[in-house]
């Protein structure tokens, strides 16, 4: 499995200075390259001293029949779940990959990364991934945000196709267990979450994203106090949209990843890094 890693200038090995990590999960059809090249999170991350990890969106080349036939299922479309239905259960375990395998490889290979400070964000299918991984693992990620997330997959065509393929018909447990709108109903807050959706996004207009359902569920469960959903006028589903608001999402992560020293006041505040040792 290939991924891209951006190390900010603050990450140094002599003396060792560990930087926090923001995981960016990509959407359908993407690899780890798209956002690394076009999302432009690195600009603000270089100022804040945050590393960014860009994983792939699925396994590649497992030789499962039909794995490359659809843009929205199989390769390029792992949906950040562990498939339970054959033949996909043999290797489509993106949930375990992002939450366990990748971090293990990452933190053992790059000692500049601080495993105790990790946040998550993503776009579209990756926004779904960011939301569900955060909601299913309280305390694992310091913060979460999303661009145009598939916020209620059990009620949209993309999600229904993917969940039926990866899980089968078990809608009451498996499907709901990977649906952000269902998960937020049970979440014990606080939920400090930033979501951007473009009103010119065709997939939003086609009902693939359904952020309103998520907001309604968050409200009804009392998890909406720190929920910010911004409907950006005319912005579309493209990386231009992400590049336009990437600063805000890095800043959102930096609030939780980078400690501010209250004592340092000379006209501006300073973001400093904690130096926490991990084993």
């Amino acid at each position: 499995m290939a991924f891209n890693l951006y190390l900010p200038p603050q990450a140094t090995t002599t003396p060792l200075h560990r930087v926090p990590v923001l995981i960016y999960l990509s959407g359908l059809t993407c690899t780890g390259d798209n956002c690394a090249e076009k999302g432009f999170f690195q600009h603000r991350a270089s100022q804040k001293g945050i590393a960014i990890v860009y994983p792939d969106t699925s396994p590649r080349g497992l030789m499962i029949e039909g794995e490359d036939d659809s843009y929205d299922f199989g390769s390029r479309a792992g949906f950040y779940v562990d498939a339970t239905k054959e033949p996909w259960s043999k290797g489509y375990n993106m949930y375990s990959y992002i939450t366990e395998e990748l971090p293990k490889a990452l933190f053992s290979s790059f000692e500049q990364l601080d495993s105790s400070r990790v946040s998550i964000t993503g776009h579209s299918m990756g926004g779904h991934g960011a939301l569900t991984l955060f909601l299913k693992n309280p305390g694992k990620y310091k913060s979460v945000s999303a661009f145009a997330p598939i916020a209620n997959p059990i009620n949209c065509p993309w999600g229904q196709k993917a969940f039926k393929g990866y899980f089968g018909e078990d809608q009451q447990s498996k499907w709901k267990d990977h649906d952000a709108t269902e998960l937020v109903k049970k979440y014990k807050g606080p939920l400090d979450l930033l979501i951007d959706v473009g009103t010119g996004d065709n997939f939003y207009k086609q009902g693939q994203l359904l952020p309103e359902n998520f907001v309604k569920a968050a409200k009804e469960s009392g998890n909406d106090k720190d929920l910010v959903v911004r409907y950006q006028p005319d912005y579309d589903h493209s990386y231009y949209t992400m590049a336009s608001f990437a600063d805000d999402h890095v800043d959102h992560a930096a609030k939780r990843l980078c400690n501010q020293v209250a004592g340092m006041k000379s006209g501006k505040s300073y973001d400093v890094q904690l130096n926490i040792t991990y084993e």
Copy 2:
């Protein structure tokens, strides 16, 4: 001919507020898309209120035999010259296109653009284009900068192949007339120029760029007073390099494109736009 145009938020039509323009010339193999997607000039341009134009690198589909055979000659490789040798002279007129035809189309179609404030920059072959168009047209562009420019084409393989193809063997007049190192010898300064070259750039190491020759010629002609050439350690020829230093090049252009009002002093300086009428 297709191009991309970035209009900053400061460009408004009601009431009409004209913004200055930075032309970005791309390198070999590119279209107007590469830098618009990956160079990330828009981030600082949106703060400074500068529009950016990304032209294509050559004519397309002229049906000239062999036009698509090489990555470094013909389509995708117009070299920003007007070819004099047949069959290329029939349509390979990128010099006239960038300096005359494109501005005419641009300023008549987008009234938000201020035709009296135009700067130019570019990468590799486009860096060559930016330098030569600036040096050959004193006063036409408010400023010039370049990433990894082909700074002395008559002495490198890329340039020799292109000039031989587009001009024939007339090295003493046509070739030298489109060579930045030759042109700077005759330039009547001041020449306020920013150039970035990565020391990990393979084409730099292969002798395709030759910035040292340009610097030497600028020194000998007394045009080096405001010449800044930065050798960026380990940076390569890619758009990641441009994205890393795009802010500096937009700032370099903004010095000449955006007037600062001397009277406005309240702790910081304000960039404001001139409202000059063009016919």
